[in-house]
């Protein structure tokens, strides 16, 4: 063992805080190394010096006063019951039971209310809007599929949300570019193709039936076109 390592371990060695194997190796090192041996002696003296400070002594009167102080503080603490304990003192068993039931009912209602609110706010349920869409259906070549609420709920992981955001922004950009290159006035197109919607979000043009659904994500709007004559069960998304 080298002196450097021994020097680090000597503070523990002098008080037998080391495992026997390491302590034996240090002992054999100290047998031949005068410098480390001297250091070990120094540490032993230092430890003796530290221990020379005996524990403070306390006389009986001081200890009695201390004990009285502790007991009086304990009495003070136990004399001051908590608010709940104070309340319970004035109520009998039945009242306590009724009170706790009422508290449980109120808590349950609060939990239900919070749960419902969260379901309302957090759910990506698509909703049908009556506002004018502003953007026409995407140009050919851009694949836009209607978003299903249930599958979204299941797969609404943070990674997926980020991916969807990127996809939506790309789609919107592509739409804008397409509209610019077409040279069409989007507002005109919207006006031409979209008369006022009825309360169900359905609008009727002479040729087509248009259904517009706004999802909770403002970037996603689902627009379906269907021939007016077809039955409502056979409505299919427009591919054009």
């Amino acid at each position: 063992m080298k002196c450097r390592r021994v020097e680090k371990l000597i503070p523990l060695y002098v008080e037998r805080d080391l495992e026997s194997g390491i302590a034996d190796r240090i002992s054999s090192h100290l047998d031949w190394c005068g410098r480390c041996n001297w250091l070990a002696d120094e540490y032993r003296e230092s430890q003796s010096w530290l221990r020379s400070s005996a524990a403070p002594e306390f006389d009986a009167a001081a200890l009695n006063a201390f004990k009285a102080g502790v007991l009086s503080r304990i009495a003070e603490t136990s004399a001051k019951p908590s608010l709940i304990a104070n309340l319970l003192q004035h109520l009998n068993r039945r009242q306590v039971l009724a009170l706790s039931t009422a508290v449980l009912v109120v808590l349950g209602m609060v939990v239900l209310y919070v749960y419902q609110m969260r379901a309302k706010l957090g759910g990506p349920t698509p909703q049908i809007v009556e506002s004018s869409p502003g953007i026409e259906s995407g140009p050919a070549g851009i694949d836009e599929k209607p978003i299903q609420a249930n599958s979204d709920k299941r797969r609404d992981s943070p990674k997926r949300r980020v991916y969807r955001g990127i996809r939506n922004s790309r789609t919107a950009l592509a739409r804008r570019r397409a509209a610019q290159t077409d040279g069409r006035d989007r507002a005109t197109v919207a006006r031409a193709s979209l008369p006022t919607l009825n309360s169900n979000g359905f609008s009727a043009t002479p040729a087509m039936l248009r259904i517009e659904i706004q999802t909770s994500d403002p970037n996603i709007r689902i627009i379906w076109f269907a021939p007016k004559e077809t039955d409502s069960h056979q409505i299919k998304p427009a591919t054009d």
């Binding site: 680090k8 371990l9 503070p11 523990l12 002098v14 008080e15 805080d17 120094e42 540490y43 003296e45 230092s46 430890q47 003796s48 010096w49 530290l50 221990r51 020379s52 400070s53 005996a54 524990a55 403070p56 002594e57 306390f58 006389d59 009167a61 001081a62 200890l63 201390f66 004990k67 102080g69 502790v70 007991l71 503080r73 304990i74 603490t77």
Partner: protein, 216 residues
């Protein structure tokens, strides 16, 4: 020095920390604890009688002055009273008590902020009745002792709170490394590191004092 070491061993024996000779003390202590847990106020008073010296001296060594030690020791017994119901009777009461002492002293040290100057045992003795001189002791010898104690307190003051707690429990209270680790809620390796560093710092301080004395 050997007599002081023996004193420390005796003190830890009364707390039930040594296995060989402390069985009767431990047994009586455990029955006392059980009675106190059952709500016997006399048993709790006895418990205070048994442990107050130890609690006071440990707190004093950890905090370095009488007022803080007194407050901390009171707080220790208040916590013992409060949480005694949660104490498991098969556990070691002394170890549990040491844990409380360490936690309370840590809280006090944190509350008071930067460590203030240590008051020596001698000055404590002068301004209070907490500690008394044994009658018939030589005044000069006492003065030397008091000076040495003050130096030791200053040496302890150079340590961090954790190092101080470790060295007080290990070297001054005579607990084993394992017991210290349990009391401090650390691993034995951490405790050994703290103890090693503390011993080195104390030696350095002592060396400086000796150098100064030789020059002077």
């Amino acid at each position: 020095m050997p007599s002081e070491v023996a004193d420390i061993a005796l003190m830890t024996d009364t707390l039930g920390l040594r296995n060989s000779s402390s069985k009767p003390a431990a047994l009586s202590s455990s029955s006392l604890v059980e009675r106190a847990m059952a709500g016997d106020p006399a048993a709790f008073e006895e418990l205070i009688d048994c442990h107050q010296r130890k609690v006071l001296s440990t707190a004093w060594r950890m905090l370095g002055n009488r007022e803080d030690a007194h407050d901390a020791a009171q707080e220790v017994f208040l916590r013992v009273h409060k949480y005694l119901g949660g104490f498991r009777s098969h556990e070691d009461f002394a170890a549990w008590l040491y844990r409380i002492i360490v936690n309370v002293c840590r809280d006090h040290a944190r509350k008071r902020g930067p460590r203030h100057q240590f008051a020596s045992f001698e000055s404590e003795r002068e301004d209070g009745t907490f500690e008394t001189l044994a009658s018939g002791e030589d005044v000069e010898a006492n003065a030397i002792k008091a000076q040495q104690r003050a130096l030791i307190e200053q040496a302890l003051d150079t340590l961090t709170t954790k190092e101080r707690a470790a060295i007080v429990l290990r070297d001054l209270e005579g607990l084993s490394t394992e017991e210290v680790a349990r009391a401090l809620g650390s691993s034995q390796t951490t405790v050994r590191t703290q103890i090693s560093s503390a011993r080195a710092k104390i030696k350095q301080y002592r060396d400086r004092v000796l150098k100064r004395t030789r020059r002077g």
